[in-house]
């Protein structure tokens, strides 16, 4: 490591030196050097790098030979090799082919344009597959070039040839290492990208370090790049697996959509077997899925399919026991459920009660629900991924939804069609009903490529049943006339398969096929004969007339294959045509010498069989045929004749075998099974390469079988300890999670069990007290999910209102229909939320009705999963959360879940939280009421309202009698949660009235926004008035400048916030505080020692002063030596934590932890000032 670092700081002269050496040995060997050997020796070697040694080593290590197979007929390469070889070891300059000298000159020049031109030509060479490796030293020098395009092209070159020129490639590493520290996230990312693409084993430790660092970068884009780098490093050095898994684990916990797809891809490449890493991230992945970029979606869905197969129970396991109707209601997913079926269900309940009823795991349902919208993706790969997920995981009744989407893909490019049809073919064997409505979409057009035609035919055959067979056969008749003979042959086979599968049409098919025997095309005839042969083998007795007919055809049919097949048939079933068979043999014996070989063989066969069954009539004929065959030109025929003669004509010499001749020839041949080549292909995961090839591809992960018993679902409960640092939007989410931990079971299964209607939903009722406590919890559990959904997927306020209305209509029926199920779920969540709100603030009477009627429903819901409840209660004994904490949490929660609906607004920065917009003033009142009660509940919190500091906006002299003061009211600003409320007090000291007080011409820094106060129409002399305006400072202390206007004058004024006003208090528990603080270490922590002011040595005054200086809230703390405060910045919701630890004699230490370092620094100054003065 140290040696290497030294090397990386080699001066430029070293570059030139190595370059010289390099050019000298050019051509002797291209890509192999002893450096490559991964035995670790190279490190020592590098530390003592000397040009002479280098030369020695390089010429000594002739392990390699030239670049293999780089491209046949590549003259340029050859010439360079030759010339290089000629000068090998000799003088330096001869070895270079002339051609590249000009390029080198251009690269060495000072002009960027020349360099660029040279690089462009080099890239063009690479693109054509020509070898440009001898330019490596000249190119690599330009890695630090200022010109972006030159730089990029150098990267392209470097990545392409680094592997071949490892030692020289190292010289570029320091550039990238510098880039890794760049303040710009995009530069950091691209440096990591190139660094990790350089496949040089020696830099593995550097890469590892870089990846680890990037994995905890602030920028999600850099973290994404880190995820991309993981498989690169893994392929370079599989030894690093364990360390890489740690990084993957960390990145899996990331909450941004940008990272999710890439890290799952890394997971799949590095450690697909470590499925347990997914547990904690499962729900998050499900919820993020819809917003992940499309390529990532594919990877995540495929991985989740495998995951679900290991964690959940087979939703179709009771399938065989149930009749169709009850089956559907059982899963609660039938499209049009009516009362009759409900009746049925009740009947079906009795036998089922004995079996353990299947209840779908809510997480299983979550996955199905969240993937469904992706069927609408424009990306065929995503659609296919969802389709296979449904096929492998969904209950039978729900799989149907994928058919439509798959059929849609058939409109796409022919390659897409090809893959989709392969999968449809497999699916249609197992679930025929699913594609039946789309039968016509598989009709074949003459313009389809043959491979598509054949696949469509396969699907049509699979879909054929008694009802549609006639239309299908009519289609087939058209196909038989096609010009594409391969396709015609496939059609005939398809007809054969239809005939075997569907008894009713067997005769029709046979007749049709027999007609085809007169086709001119050999292929058609042969194929039909073969198929007829197979069909006849199934029921030979019934079809002696067809055999007779075919016997007659021997006069006309000239195609040898067909003649041979007919002869075989007659021989095989000669008992059914006892009269005709000898006659056919007679004719054949006559024409024997003119027949094709294949026919001759069958004639011998026929003769032998007839001899064995009907020797009286055919003895002479057989002798004759055998004699003819004896002198045939073809030795196969001569052999066969000799063999058969020995076998069937008993002589003294012939051994025991002839006794068995009859058994040998006339054994019952098994009827060939006509089945789809796609049968049983579904043991491969659909949509995979292995499925397509019907062979296991490298790196294929088997789709596991369903487990017998479901593994513990509680592993997916997210614990607070596992959460990542606060880069992402998670202001109050943490808290919700903590609550989940407190009552893992309730929040989990009850909160989400809504969608699964178990069969015994109406059985026994839950005990009162049980459901009471359960209800509250279920509310919180589902809400956390809801708010996540809310923030990820955009939902409009109106929409929610609509749903509320809808919910009223839907309230009554307990059993909902499938189509509305999903919306119903959401509705339910709302209901719960409403109820919760009610429990929080009793003042809401309008909701009463709703929640009342709703409670009955959730009660029944409760009872649904009661069995589960009992089971799991043993696992996790719920403990009631402490009251004050809970209330506080709920308030927080509401802010999040109700308010951040507007995710689609472009957020100022990716890590910013969704906007906390206040929806209605009534809600704000509620919240204010709550915050008042907070003060009561947690006495440590001191209301700062009395200590508000006012600032002067307009002095009465400059304002010509009008004076304006403002203060930061620290109240939420209702129209926009991201704004800081500024309360202004206007005093008219003049003698005349001031009119039309308003603001104009607002000048703001970018990103800042202002909500103007309402115009004050009249301010009489001597009066005062107040107004409130909101400013979104974007977490900066930049002033907001505007003009304050009266009816006569305009005054330029500006409002500059103290940093302490850019935050709002949040409530944290001591533990949370410590945890968060632990995550905001390093650069995010600023500590300052101070001596407290003499008046400010007790706890109360410290708290008072800090809270005056900054809008933070007190965090309860066991020790009185330490005061802790927490808040979040208004715009980006970054956490701000402050700690004042007082020691002896007024000494104290102030620590501020904040993700925004600027804010942290300023805050330290402000608080310091407040405490020391």
């Amino acid at each position: 490591m140290t040696a290497m670092q030294r090397l990386l700081q080699l001066p430029v002269t070293a570059v030139n030196m190595v370059k010289t050496v390099q050019s000298q040995v050019q051509g002797q060997e291209e890509d192999k050097s002893p450096v490559l050997t991964p035995d670790g020796v190279h490190q020592a070697w590098y530390s003592a790098l000397q040009p002479d040694e280098l030369r020695h080593l390089r010429s000594g290590g002739t392990g390699g030979g030239g670049r293999g197979g780089g491209g046949g007929g590549d003259h340029e390469e050859h010439s360079s090799l030759e010339e290089g070889g000629g000068g090998g070891g000799g003088s330096i300059f001869q070895s270079q082919p002339l051609r590249h000298d000009d390029l080198k000159e251009m690269l060495d020049s000072n002009k960027d344009s020349l360099k660029l031109e040279a690089m462009k030509r080099i890239v063009a060479m690479i693109a054509r597959g020509k070898n440009a490796s001898d330019l490596f030293p000249a190119v690599v020098k330009n890695v630090a070039c200022k010109n972006i395009e030159v730089k990029k092209l150098v990267y392209v070159y470097l990545v392409r040839y680094a592997e071949e020129q490892q030692d020289l490639a190292l010289l570029s590493i320091s550039t990238f290492q510098r880039g890794l520290k760049d303040p710009n996230q995009l530069i950091r990312a691209s440096a990591l990208r190139v660094l990790s693409s350089i496949r040089v084993t020696i830099i593995v430790p550097i890469m590892m370090l870089a990846i680890k660092e990037a994995a905890s970068d602030m920028s999600p884009y850099v973290r994404k790049t880190a995820a991309h780098a993981i498989p690169k490093l893994y392929s370079l050095d599989p030894e690093q697996k364990d360390q890489l898994i740690e990084v993957i684990e960390k990145l899996l916990a990331d909450k941004t959509t940008l990272v999710a797809g890439s890290v799952v891809m890394a997971f799949e490449e590095v450690c697909p077997e470590r499925i347990e890493l997914i547990h904690k991230n499962y729900r998050k992945l499900c919820n993020l899925l819809i917003d992940v970029e499309e390529w990532g979606q594919v990877v995540i869905i495929n991985m989740l399919t495998r995951y679900a197969r290991t964690q959940f129970l087979n939703p179709n396991m009771n399938e065989s026991l149930l009749e169709e109707g009850s089956d559907k209601t059982f899963y609660g997913s039938d499209e049009d459920e009516d009362e009759e079926e409900e009746e049925k269900e009740k009947k079906a309940e009795a036998p089922m009660a004995k079996r353990k009823p299947y209840v779908m795991d809510p997480d299983h349902r979550l996955l199905l629900r969240n993937t469904k919208p992706l069927l609408q993706s424009r990306n065929a790969a995503v659609v296919m991924a969802v389709a296979q997920l449904y096929f492998h995981l969904a209950p039978k009744a729900e799989i149907g939804v994928i058919a439509k989407a798959l059929v849609r893909l058939l409109r796409s490019h022919s390659e897409v069609q090809y893959v989709v049809l392969q999968n449809v073919a497999t699916m249609s064997i197992k679930r025929r009903g699913m594609f039946e409505p789309y039968l016509k979409s598989f009709y074949i057009r003459s313009t389809d490529p043959t491979q598509i035609k054949i696949l469509k035919l396969e699907v049509l055959t699979n879909l054929a049943n008694e009802t549609n067979i006639s239309t299908i056969l009519r289609e087939f008749q058209t196909y038989i006339k096609s010009m594409d003979k391969d396709f015609v042959a496939a059609t005939i086979q398809a007809i054969g398969r239809c005939a075997t599968n569907i008894g009713e049409v067997r005769d029709t098919c046979l007749n049709g096929l027999v007609q085809l025997l007169s086709n001119r095309d050999e292929l058609v005839v042969a194929e039909s004969v073969v198929v007829i042969k197979k069909l006849l083998q199934m029921q030979p007795e019934k079809h002696s007339d067809i055999i007779k007919h075919m016997a007659k055809l021997t006069d006309n049919i000239q195609v040898p294959m067909a003649r041979a097949s007919i002869l075989w048939l007659i021989g095989e079933y000669c008992e059914h045509v006892p009269k005709i068979a000898p006659d056919v043999l007679r004719k054949m014996a006559k024409s024997f010498t003119n027949e094709e070989d294949i026919v001759k063989l069958q004639i011998i066969n026929l003769a032998a069989k007839l001899y064995l069954t009907n020797s009286k009539q055919t003895k002479l004929l057989t002798q004759y045929v055998l004699n003819l065959a004896k002198y045939d030109q073809n030795y196969d025929i001569r052999d066969r004749a000799r063999f058969i003669r020995q076998l069937i004509v008993p002589t003294e010499k012939s051994g025991a075998l002839s006794k068995y001749a009859k058994k040998l020839f006339l054994a019952l041949k098994p009827a060939p099974v006509l089945e789809s080549p796609f049968k049983d292909r579904d043991h491969f995961q659909l949509g995979s390469l292995s499925h397509l090839l019907n062979a296991k591809a490298g790196g294929y992960q088997e789709l596991p079988d369903w487990p017998e018993a479901a593994p513990d679902p509680s592993v997916r409960n997210v614990e607070v300890k596992d959460s990542v640092p606060e880069w992402t939007k998670c202001s109050s989410r943490e808290k919700r999670k903590e609550k989940k931990v407190e009552k893992p079971f309730y929040s989990d299964s009850e909160g989400e069990s809504g969608p699964t209607e178990s069969a015994d939903s109406e059985s026994d009722s839950a005990s009162g007290s049980e459901s009471g406590s359960g209800l509250e919890e279920s509310g919180s559990g589902s809400e956390s999910e809801e708010s996540e959904e809310g923030s990820e997927s955009e939902e409009e306020e109106e929409e929610e209102k609509d749903k509320k209305k809808k919910k009223k209509e839907l309230k009554k029926p307990v059993q909902e229909s499938e189509s509305e199920q999903s919306s119903e779920e959401e509705v339910r969540k709302h209901e719960r939320k409403n109820k919760q709100r009610k429990s929080d603030s009793e003042s809401e009477s309008d909701e009463e009705e709703e929640s009342e009627s709703e409670s009955s429903q959730s009660e029944s819901e409760d009872s649904e999963s009661e069995a589960e409840v009992k089971k799991k209660k043993k696992v996790a004994e719920p403990k009631p959360p402490s009251k004050p904490v809970k209330k506080e949490c709920k308030k927080e929660k509401k802010e999040m879940s109700l308010l951040d609906l507007d995710d689609f607004e472009p957020a100022p920065s990716p890590q910013a939280t969704p906007l906390n917009t206040f929806l209605s003033s009534s809600l704000v009142n509620d919240l204010e009421g709550l915050s008042l009660s907070d003060a009561v509940l947690s006495p440590a919190t001191i209301s700062p309202s009395s200590t508000l500091k006012s600032y002067e906006l307009l002095h009465r002299i400059t304002g010509e009698g009008l004076s304006v003061e403002y203060c930061f009211s620290r109240q939420p600003f209702p129209p926009d949660g991201n704004m800081v409320a500024v309360q202004m007090q206007f005093t008219n000291n003049a003698t005349s009235d001031a009119k039309n007080l308003h603001m104009e011409d607002v000048k703001l820094q970018s990103g800042m926004r202002v909500k103007e106060f309402t115009e004050i129409e009249l301010l009489p002399a001597g009066e005062t008035a107040t107004a409130v305006m909101g400013i979104d400072f974007c977490d900066s202390t930049q002033a907001a400048n505007f003009q304050l206007c009266t009816h006569t004058r305009k005054f330029f004024v500006s409002i500059q916030p103290p940093v302490g006003e850019l935050m709002r208090p949040v409530f944290l528990t001591e533990n949370e505080f410590k945890k968060e603080q632990g995550q905001l270490m390093g650069m995010n922590e600023i500590s300052e020692k101070l001596t407290l002011d003499a008046n400010c040595r007790n706890e109360h005054s410290i708290v008072q002063r800090v809270i005056t200086a900054a809008n933070l809230s007190r965090v309860p703390c066991g020790s009185d030596k330490e005061c802790r405060f927490a808040g979040r910045t208004v715009t980006s919701s970054s956490l701000v934590l402050a700690t004042v630890a007082s020691r002896e004699e007024g000494a104290a230490q102030l620590t501020v932890n904040c993700e925004k370092m600027v804010i942290g620094t300023m805050l330290v100054k402000d608080i310091l000032l407040a405490l020391t003065q």
Partner: protein, 418 residues
């Protein structure tokens, strides 16, 4: 995932190669050439070819094979879809995606490929992001570049990749703010010998060209959204809103994009705009065949049928065709046996027809198959399904954009069996 990419032209030359991981020798393409030889038609090369160490997944577009080399399990559609996206991007950048265009812009192509994949995993495939990174070449810029030596690579850093709206670049400015939407519907149909419809369905797309300043938020609503049976969206469309209200709500990408593709439910009867009267016969024993074709408008709702092009693959036995069109021109290629008749506009008063005789190979027996007739056509200002856009609203920006909507009906895979 994707290891390498080879571009192969119609004559079997590998004219471009790009490796994202270690270098794969181009000799791996021999397996592809083998498969190509086996296939009778260019489009019959199997998209997935297993070789001993690699798998080749290829797509054929514009007579160029894009062959991706992969080494381990990956969903084949993932690769195919990506390759098509690559072709679309080239087309977007160079106007056409031909061998010449790729060779001329080989550096841009390389830069694009470099950005689109990282270690074989797709990175930036949105055209808006790519255009921020690498500016598409224009004649003017090429000239300026050669003179000044400046570059195609964007000077700014690609902030689009970080955005929550990755498909839209930031800081878009136009003097004329305009949004155009083209509703294009294609009829896929198979008409049987007697003229009755065997299967017919309508597939439609809404292509948009949006040039609006800032971050506009658009909503598009339909008069009759129930017609749409199955839809797939550009990622910008808010799915929930569609589910709930059947309104398309989206922040559009900048420039051209496909907003929506849809399928009109098969319950609706599809109006077939033209009918074909045909009489194609071959007589046993004679070396002559008769060819007689007449076209006429059927259900066109008063709009005229334009740009009609009839093509038919005649049986192999046909040596030549001696035909007489009442309007337009026809060509017959004696090698491929492809007959094309460029009809143009159908005049309902005087129906276009093509009559004449075909000469067959002497002595050959009569072909037992009849050719199918493929028809292309266009009807302007009408969506055959009756789909109508109700209104387009814009939120989030203050200016008033110019809005335009155009309807068109085309024949998709429209075949008449004879």
């Amino acid at each position: 995932m994707i290891h390498s990419l080879f571009l192969i032209n119609a004559s079997g030359d590998i004219f471009l190669e790009k490796h994202w991981k270690s270098v794969v020798s181009r000799s791996v393409c021999d397996y592809f050439f083998e498969a190509q030889e086996r296939a009778s038609e260019p489009e019959n090369v199997p998209p997935v070819i297993p070789t001993p160490h690699h798998y080749l997944i290829s797509v054929l577009r514009h007579r160029i094979y894009f062959v991706a080399v992969i080494q381990s399990e990956v969903p084949p559609l993932f690769v195919i879809e990506f390759l098509h996206r690559v072709v679309d991007t080239f087309q977007d950048y160079f106007g056409v995606c031909t061998e010449a265009a790729i060779k001329d812009n080989v550096v841009v192509v390389y830069e694009l490929l470099e950005e689109m994949l990282d270690n074989g995993f797709p990175l930036a495939t949105e055209s808006n992001i790519l255009k921020e990174l690498i500016k598409p070449p224009t004649i003017l810029r090429t000239m300026v570049n050669t003179i000044t030596g400046s570059t195609n690579v964007g000077e700014q850093l690609p902030t689009g990749q970080l955005s929550v709206v990755p498909w839209r670049r930031t800081g878009v400015k136009y003097t004329n703010n305009e949004a155009y939407f083209d509703v294009v519907e294609e009829i896929d149909a198979i008409i049987d010998k007697s003229g009755s419809t065997i299967t017919a369905e309508i597939q439609g797309v809404i292509d948009a060209c949006v040039k609006l300043t800032g971050m506009p938020d658009l909503t598009l609503s339909f008069m009759n959204p129930r017609l749409l049976d199955d839809v797939s969206f550009h990622p910008c469309v808010r799915f929930k809103r569609w589910e709930a209200e059947r309104i398309l709500s989206f922040i559009p990408p900048d420039g051209n994009f496909r907003l929506l593709s849809y399928h009109v439910s098969s319950q609706n009867l599809v109006a077939i705009p033209v009918y074909v009267k045909h009489n194609i016969t071959f007589r046993e024993g004679s070396s002559q065949g008769r060819f007689d074709l007449t076209l006429g408008p059927k259900q066109t709702m008063g709009k005229s049928v334009e740009a009609v092009l009839v093509s038919s693959q005649l049986p192999r036995g046909v040596l030549n065709a001696n035909l007489n069109p009442s309007q337009g021109t026809y060509t017959f290629d004696p090698v491929t046996k492809m007959l094309t008749w460029d009809v143009g506009k159908i005049n309902p008063q005087k129906l276009p027809s093509l009559k004449g005789s075909m000469s067959l190979q002497a002595g050959a027996s009569k072909p037992d198959e009849n050719p199918t007739i493929n028809i292309q056509l266009k009807i302007q200002q009408m969506a055959i399904s009756g789909l109508k856009v109700n209104r387009l609203d814009m939120y989030g920006e203050k200016y008033k954009p110019f809005k335009g909507i155009k309807y068109m009906t085309k024949a998709g895979k429209f075949q008449v069996r004879t």
